[in-house]
């Protein structure tokens, strides 16, 4: 069978025939179901957006200033922790409500979080 190709067809003939066959393959049939499915997803997309907008109204839940303050304090804490762990293995940080937090990762224990009203108490 293979020998037949070897003897009677060269590259150009194979190329021509192969791609004339490829060109003969049928295109996808039109499908109204396909259109309906996509449109359904688009309608659901809209509903989902509306739902999100009504369930969590940003202004009512939390103010922008509060979010910024929380985020800033969190980022500051992370940086402080990394730095203190790599140097002195302990960090003391003052928090707005007069409490002190301490993070420790001494060699014989896991990372600990300590909270107290003063440095001495911790």
């Amino acid at each position: 069978m293979s020998k037949k190709v070897e003897e009677s067809m060269n590259y150009e003939e194979i190329e021509e025939k192969l791609f004339s066959l490829v060109g003969k393959t049928r295109k996808a049939d039109f499908s109204s179901d396909f259109t309906d499915n996509v449109m359904q997803q688009i309608y659901e997309l809209k509903k989902e957006d509306e739902k999100k907008a009504t369930v969590i109204p940003f202004k009512k839940s939390i103010s922008f200033v509060t979010i910024t303050a929380i985020a800033a304090s969190f980022i500051f804490s992370i940086f402080s922790i990394n730095e203190s762990i790599s140097t002195e293995n302990i960090l003391l940080a003052e928090v707005p409500d007069s409490y002190y937090w301490a993070f420790s990762n001494s060699e014989d224990s896991d990372l600990e979080v300590l909270i107290g009203e003063s440095r001495e108490e911790i």
């Binding site: 590259y11 004339s20 060109g23 996808a28 449109m39």
Partner: protein
Amino acid sequence: MWDKNIEDLKIIQKILSGDKNLYREIINKYQQKVRTYCFNFLSDKDLADDTAQEIFLKAYQGLKSFKGQSSFSTWLFRITFNHCSDVLRKRNKQNLISLEGLIEKEGDKIEALLFTSEDHTLVIEEEELLRQLISAFPERYRTILILREVNELSYEEIADILHCSIDSVKGRLKRARKEVAKQVRHLTEPINV
């Protein structure tokens, strides 16, 4: 082609103004081309239809970013070929058969197809085999071969989609056709003992 583009632009403007039901017209107009591309690229009908749906959804969500600098059809095809490539990458490649593997497995049938007469009408099994063959083409050739040989887009349209010159499209297409034909011929050569 330009008239078609103006027609599309008018529809898109109306959709963006709030008449989202008009997107139905866009889907109806382009679904066959997009689904045909997906089907030939992925060689899996269900996956192809799911992918085509995602493409139309993605296009709808990105409609605001369509500036009309190219035709809508070109813009949609860019999303199509990018998304199909992503789907293929995410898909477990173990399920895909290589061109070599396919020719080894179905070599006789492919060869028989090469000897059919010019007016031969493909039966379903033959079409399926050809689709498998196309989807087994190396990925670097597959896109351009499907766009030209299956979707029958013009060189100009392909150049727009692939962001290259018409000469580059012609060159790449020529190389792709030759390379695939070479592999088909090479792998069907008899083994000399």
